[in-house]
Amino acid sequence: MNSCNQFSLIAFALLFFGLSTGHAQQNAAALHQRANAAMCSNCHGTEGKTVDGSAVPSINGMPKDYMVLQMKAFKDGTRPATVMHQLTKGLTDAQIESIAIYYANNKR
């Protein structure tokens, strides 16, 4: 094996492991985001889709900015609620953002 071959193999190895690690991190982040967002689905349905006739609204496909504003309005008390004001106070702004992005990208 000449030096050029050795170099290219090392380069590919670096490239592959670099890509692979980056990909795994991306996958892990997506997995955690999805599982965290699933904390909403006990009441708002799997993937944010409630059962037919539910008074609790579906949240899948809800525009991100709208959802963030509503969640923050629950959190700061400007939007009255029975339960949501108590739950949103347990979430950081970053967690609210992550949930909103997940459901906004989850088409109806």
């Binding site: 290219s8 996958n27 799997t46």
Partner: protein
């Protein structure tokens, strides 16, 4: 670069592309073929975990669910069957969708033995199942032997617990309906922790509501081993005072030690005996018997210690335990909603581990628990539990969670909708 090297480079790129496609660009990494997660117990925890391992692995991980019952009967809402505003069929959901929609292999059987070293579970039918990861969600075992005479009284059907929803729920409803006007219905509550902290008080409220409308000369007695109402205390007590005066009597610090089914008598640690027409004795509880038998109940031989980030047993590798049977983190209730929340954290942790991905460093859990104080009014308690990586436990977030301001009809609508949606999220 020489031509030959370029070809090699192209081939290498090609194989990288195919590897990347194997890894998949959704939420999972590479999962070894025929990786199997075995879920034991199909309640709020186990059924949801089975579904979410399938979903979060993009249907790449085989999931087998072992559950002895043919259908899921919900403990939450079962007090409404005793009160008479719902029927047992209203709170029953089949397991069909887990198989047809999510590809879970649902096996109607009972796990009789777990070999944690060989990672094999033996079923009551005699067959064995190998697993890579086990999710154990066995619920609770009622400790009948903590109350003298209770085992026989329970076996004969004279004294019911109805703390595992099903036939006993229907039977307790019948005992209430058959009770003469002027009779006494006694409910005993064990010391905390037990499954569903507000459940006994909701049940007493349902019985009181039925008596008020149908047998106004009768009474319901709550004989509580605890110092005070363990959940939603001020809300229950105010509603009782306003609506069930003379019908419902709350008696704290009464720990039942013996029961005589023949004379319908309860005996206590300190106080005088109590006679009643219906005895609903809820005994102390511990982790489901398979967990105890496998040596996983390493906290006082009652509850199962787990690593809260992954719910992996502190006793046995690759066995993850969720739901009522775990040693709960501070302020974490033993509830169906909480078990469903555990299910999502454990499913994600197992998918991550089997895919060689990082485990969520900051999982969190939510709980919302509704109680019907009559057939139309409801109160709730809610909480958020964030994982603290430093102290390796869940902590409720200061300022979050809380109770209803007052009972309301609006919350009754939300409560029934909660049930519909969580049943669908767990089994649909």
């Amino acid at each position: 670069m020489k031509r030959r090297n370029f070809v090699q480079a192209s081939m290498a790129l090609g194989s990288m592309a195919s590897l990347a496609s194997l890894v998949g660009c959704a939420t999972t990494g590479r999962i070894p073929e025929k990786t199997r997660v075995l879920v034991v117990g199909g309640g709020y925890g186990g059924a949801a975990a089975a579904k979410y391992v399938r979903m979060l692995s993009n249907y790449q991980i085989d999931v087998v669910l072992i559950e002895p019952e043919s259908a899921f009967v919900s403990c939450p809402m079962s007090n409404l069957v005793i009160g008479g505003s719902k029927t047992i069929s209203d709170i029953t959901t089949p397991y069909d969708n887990l198989a047809s929609k999510h590809g879970v292999n649902v096996v109607r059987d009972y796990v009789s033995n777990i070999d944690a070293n060989k990672k094999i579970a033996t079923l009551a039918s005699g067959s064995s199942i190998r697993y890579d990861k086990m999710i154990l969600s066995p619920g609770i075992e009622l400790m009948f032997n903590t109350v003298e005479g209770l085992k026989q009284a329970s076996d004969s059907g004279q004294v019911l617990q109805a703390w595992k929803a099903g036939q006993e729920t229907t039977n307790l409803r019948k005992q209430l309906v058959d009770m003469p006007d002027g009779g006494v219905f006694a409910i005993t509550i064990p010391e905390a922790p037990y499954r569903c902290p507000p459940g006994p008080y909701e049940r007493a409220s349902q019985v009181a509501n039925y008596l008020k409308q149908n047998k106004p000369k009768s009474k319901v007695l709550i004989l509580d081993a605890n110092q005070d109402v363990t959940s939603k205390g001020p809300l229950f007590k105010k509603f009782w005072a306003d609506n069930y005066k003379g019908i419902l009597e709350y008696i704290p610090q009464h720990k039942v030690t013996a029961v005589d089914a023949k004379s319908k008598t309860l005996k206590f640690e300190v106080q005088n005996d109590v006679k009643a027409n219906v005895l609903n004795v809820i005994p102390a509880m511990r982790a489901g018997s398979i967990a105890v038998q496998t040596g996983l109940a390493n906290a006082n031989n009652r509850w199962c210690g787990v690593n809260y980030q992954t719910f992996e047993s502190t006793q046995s590798k690759d066995i993850h335990i969720i739901g009522d049977s775990i040693l709960a983190a501070p302020a974490m209730p033993k509830s169906g909603h909480m078990a469903n929340s555990h299910a999502k954290v454990v499913a994600a942790a197992i998918v991550a581990q089997l895919s060689d991905l990082a485990i969520n460093p900051e999982p969190y859990l939510m709980n919302t628990c509704y109680s019907f104080v009559n057939d139309k009014y409801v109160v709730h308690v809610a909480s958020v539990h964030q994982y603290d990586s430093k102290d390796k436990t869940y902590k409720t977030v200061p300022g979050s969670g809380g109770l209803s301001a007052a009972p309301s009809e609006l919350e009754a609508i939300y409560a029934w909708n909660w049930a519909q949606n969580i049943w669908n999220d767990t089994l649909g």
